[in-house]
Symmetry: C2
Subunit: 78 residues, 2 copies
């Protein structure tokens, strides 16, 4: 079974760079990668916060959040 | 030809978590992944700084740095 990997972003330049390079580098053979735009899918902000996402872009692998550089705070997306 | 991906760390708990989850998630079919412990290999600090690494853990993909969470500042490793 593949491990889930969710990339949360908000369409910002820092987010786009991280998505194109880092999210794209994840091994698709081992991970189910989902990309979520929190600016457009605000209903998913609580889910991101629940696993500890404080800012975007962030990659959550198997429930563990990794904040990548800094694009925007979650609070600013609400 | 594979793209280079260098994971810089300093053995800190934040670094270890990032290495085990995120660096390990990179697709080995497309990337040559090198793990560098800057606390032990101080001679490589200038190379990391040259591509813009400010803190560890950081992953540099094709010359672009991604800072992952925050373990330690590069300045504190010198």
């Amino acid at each position: 079974m593949k491990t889930s990997a969710t990339f949360y972003h908000a369409g910002c330049p820092v987010c786009v760079a991280a998505e194109q390079q880092l999210a794209d580098a994840i091994d698709p053979a081992r991970f189910d990668i989902e990309v979520v735009h929190l600016g457009e899918a605000k209903a998913r902000i609580p889910e991101a916060e629940a696993v500890g996402v404080k800012s975007v872009p962030a990659l959550v692998i198997a429930g563990q959040p990794f904040h990548i550089n800094f694009g925007a705070a979650i609070a600013d997306l609400k």
